[in-house]
């Protein structure tokens, strides 16, 4: 019996193998639209897989989305799965998605930290970092959202390998980070980077390593305001928004700061539900509502990127 991406239970959490297997069925179900790219290997040798949504052309302007770079934030990966399916299903049906994919490509890395994700399923549900060893320490792993070459080693990161915000020995030391760096640089036409985390319900943009406003602050702020407003219209979920440094705290070496400094203007990071009652242990019954409301914000950003070429 042929498997179908439609038979997948989107309202449940899944293991890495289940998600990777589902990605294959999604590609099989949408052969003209979805393909799978291997952009590298994790420290423990797992494939780093990206879904490419494309209707053709070469090196079209593109949007990069990653979920779950912090492995314990399971709602992020689950939202990534749902979103991938949504993009595939809505092409040809939803005018915005259709217009988007007729002109741009979307790249979605659902499991940005596979070693950490597997570890959260097997040994430590609270694991956040990668699983690479650190010279001179018994503590494993680097925080992949402090490992980027953007204010690397600054405030909000730690030089202690045992810390959950350890920045690593040098920028892009983590294979999981380096793979994305190489991919985005190699592509050369990425116009937006959206990195999805949880929890605390926020939509953030550069900078994180400094409280100085970015040159595009005003436009990003307006776009974020619209996105969180449309998100809230679905279930009333309230998001705050603003620059990382202003809204939460100074955090050096983050994904979106690196992307922005590379010239990717529309760089955002989302912090999904909830506000703390369950934190990283958000019940699976909230996957569909979370993904559904997040979709509105994602669509706002993606359509804005399409309509504001640069």
């Amino acid at each position: 019996v042929k498997r179908s991406s439609r038979a997948f239970d989107f309202s449940s959490y899944h293991t890495l193998d289940e998600i990777y297997s589902w990605m294959d069925t999604l590609v099989e179900d949408h052969p003209g639209l979805v393909s799978k790219i291997r952009i590298g290997q994790s420290y423990e040798g797992r494939d780093l897989l990206v879904l490419k949504f494309s209707t053709g052309g070469s090196a079209r302007p593109a949007i990069w989305v990653d979920t779950g770079i912090h492995s314990r934030e399971w709602i992020s990966q689950a939202t990534g799965v749902w979103t991938a399916n949504k993009i595939a299903e809505e092409y040809g049906r939803d005018p915005s998605v259709t217009a988007l994919l007729d002109n741009m490509d979307v790249f979605l890395e659902i499991i940005a930290n596979p070693d950490g994700f597997v570890f959260t399923h097997s040994s430590d549900r609270m694991w956040r970092k990668t699983r690479s060893p650190n010279t001179g320490s018994t503590c494993l792993g680097v925080d992949p959202n402090r490992n980027w070459d953007a204010g690397f080693g600054g405030d909000g990161s730690s030089g202690d390998p045992c810390s959950d915000i350890y920045h690593g020995p040098f920028p892009h030391s983590e294979r999981e980070v380096k793979a994305i760096v190489d991919f985005i640089r190699g592509h050369g036409n990425v116009k937006s980077v959206i990195s999805i985390h949880s929890y605390s319900q926020m939509l953030l943009f550069p900078y994180g390593y400094t409280s100085v406003p970015s040159p595009d602050y005003q436009e990003m702020n307006e776009l974020a305001k619209k996105a969180v407003s449309d998100l809230a219209a679905v279930y009333g979920t309230k998001y705050t928004f603003g620059s990382i440094a202003d809204t939460i705290y100074t955090a050096a070496g983050t994904t979106v700061d690196w992307a922005y400094d590379q010239g990717v203007k529309y760089s955002f990071t989302l912090e999904l539900r909830d506000t703390g009652r369950h934190g990283f242990l958000l019940p699976s019954s909230q996957i569909l509502p979370t993904a559904t409301e997040t979709w509105q914000a994602l669509l706002d950003i993606m359509v804005h990127v399409l309509e504001h070429p640069y």
Binding site: D9, Y13, M126, I248, Y249, G276, R277, H278, P283, S284
Partner: protein, 93 residues
Amino acid sequence: LETFVGHQVLRIKTRNEEEVRQLQLLESLEHLELDFWISPSAPALPVDVRIPAASVQSVKAFLESQGIEYSVLIEDLQKLLDEEKEAMARSRR
């Protein structure tokens, strides 16, 4: 397999910069093995921290001695983890 029996997650609400500084001091005390889910940054923002069973009383005593407001978000982390595991197994079945 690491278990989290007796681990609690507290939500701490700070009212001023001094209380934020107190929490940053707490964060630096490695022997307590605290896991800050949301780190102390500004008085208006809540701080969520996972506390191993052995440190729960010490942390609560510290907060109370400083007059810092807190509430228990997760009473027993392992209980939630077990529920999550059960939900996944149920779904798979």
